[in-house]
């Protein structure tokens, strides 16, 4: 049995919180540059130029890409042969978030009581943590700071199996159309299909952690990702909603088996600052 101390998790999480908020991934950066070449609208081009410059300033001067440094969301794949010492996983991750957000001058955006007091917790905790037990002796931590503006433009719908592909396409396209400029386009669209009401939302979130533009391994769903991306960009909403050809950079679909009576669907949107990082310990 391999032993891993909670302090190692905290240290790594603190660093990941800072790095993810300052350094945009290479895939996301390249996608912005590609869309600048392809964009037809002059105003859209101007927006994309600012976004590319923004990524470079953030990287060169260690300034957060966006002032909304997000809700801290973690997916942890915990190898069953690893024994955690010196604390619980939840405490270890929250301690890392606390340190990362404080030492990194990141904005603390979490309030304790969602309805009445709404008092800031002061250190961006608690994080949202999903844990899967997997074979092996490694621990994989995936982190995304999830901005509020794009998260607010998300939805779950319990479609009927008879709604089929057309119904799914209608739901996703109409939903992002209504979101329009609010989630800071160009957006990344995470789509969950199948499972229960709660599971489908997790699928949509997980889809946002996939390397940008990497297609679903199932060719049918890879094709559907392409169709959705085309239809979404054909809305003409464009960068920041000012009009143009680049409303979305990618559509990622994650699926889960479904109940015979259901076809759950979920949309979780990320802004162009599609920040995520992973680390294997």
């Amino acid at each position: 049995m391999r032993e891993l101390d909670a302090s190692v998790i905290s240290e790594n999480v603190a660093q990941m919180c800072q790095d993810a908020n300052i350094y945009l991934g290479e895939e996301e950066y390249e996608a912005l540059k590609r869309s600048l070449e392809e964009e037809e609208s002059p105003t859209g081009k101007e927006v994309l130029k600012q976004l590319i410059e923004n990524v470079e300033i953030a990287r060169n001067e260690q300034i957060p890409i966006c002032q909304d440094t997000g809700f801290s969301v973690f997916f942890v794949q915990w190898g069953q042969e690893v024994h955690l010492t010196g604390g619980t996983l939840e405490e270890a991750i929250n301690e890392g978030v606390r340190r990362g957000y404080t030492e990194g001058y990141l904005r603390k955006s979490i309030v304790d009581d969602p309805l009445y007091n709404r008092k800031n917790t002061g250190d961006n905790t608690p994080a949202v943590i999903y844990t899967d037990l997997v074979p092996g002796d490694k621990v994989k931590i995936s982190f995304a700071p999830k901005g509020g503006g794009s998260e607010n433009m998300s939805a779950v719908k319990m479609l009927k199996p008879s709604d089929g592909e057309a119904g799914l396409i209608d739901f996703v396209v109409n939903h992002v159309k209504a979101a329009g400029p609010n989630p800071c386009p160009p957006i990344v669209v995470g789509v969950g299909i199948g499972g229960t009401f709660d599971r489908v939302a997790v699928s949509a979130k997980k889809a946002l952690f996939r390397p940008l533009g990497q297609p679903n391994p199932d060719p049918k769903f890879a094709e559907l990702e392409k169709t959705l991306l085309e239809k979404i960009n054909d809305l003409g909403v464009g960068p920041q909603g000012f009009g143009g050809r680049t409303f979305a950079l990618a559509v990622h679909i994650e699926t889960f088996p479904s109940h015979i009576a259901s076809m759950a669907a979920a949309v979780n949107i990320n802004c162009h600052a599609s920040r995520h990082l992973e680390k294997v310990l």
Binding site: E40, S41, P42, T43, G44, E46, V47, Q50, L51, E53, N54, V55, I57, A58, E61, I63, P64, I65, C66, Q67, D68, T69, Y105, L106, R107, N120, G147, G148, G149, N152, G180, P181, N182, C184, D234, L235, G236, V237, G238, Q240, G241, F242, G243, G244, R245, C271, H272, A273
Partner: protein
């Protein structure tokens, strides 16, 4: 399409010279306010009390920056979603505010009030917080320090880029822009 240079605070003449879709670069002094500060300002208005800042001709920027590191004027400082301020905006305009900067859709009531009071709604590029922070040269809290990132700040800006979304003539770039590029 060269951006137009404008000075803050604004005059009616400048407001009326701008149209939805115009890119501008703003120089001068602007103020920040988000949800909590708006709520406090409008409560004072409703009670007929004096506001901590004079809104006449002013820009209000919807922003909650990251904490400034030592040596920085301000941290990352991009716009937040404007729709959350819709309930307060007509009253802010009635009290003299001339323009607000944020991102995202506004209600019909806000668009109507922009026409009635000769005002502008502009968007800065959402998520360009690092770039926009470089255009803010000075930042100081002028009201509600207890609100932290949500306190009202007085900002001195240079070449601050924004795009007119809703003008004083009822035009709406979000509606017109998408129509032009839809297929």
């Amino acid at each position: 399409m060269e951006p137009k240079r404008i000075k803050a605070p604004l005059t009616d003449e400048v407001v009326m010279s701008l149209k939805a879709g115009d890119n501008v670069l703003i120089d001068g002094v602007i103020y920040t306010a988000r949800d909590a500060a708006h709520k406090k300002l409008v409560e004072l208005m409703d009670k007929g009390e004096e506001l901590p800042i004079d809104l006449t001709g002013q820009f209000i920027y919807y922003v909650g920056p990251t904490p400034a590191k030592p040596g920085q004027a301000i941290g990352s400082a991009g716009p937040t979603t404007s729709g959350r301020m819709d309930a307060y905006t007509p009253k802010m305009l009635a009290k003299g505010m001339k323009a607000c900067i944020g991102k995202g859709l506004r209600s019909q009531a806000v668009k109507d009030a922009l026409q009635e009071y000769k005002g502008l709604y502009l968007a800065a590029v959402g998520g360009a917080g690092a770039l926009l922070s470089k255009r803010i040269k000075k930042s100081e809290v002028v009201a509600y320090p207890e609100l932290g990132a949500e306190a009202i700040h007085r900002l001195e800006v240079e070449d601050f880029p924004a795009t007119v979304i809703n003008d004083a003539y009822g035009n709406d770039l979000y509606a017109e822009g998408a129509k032009k590029y839809a297929r």
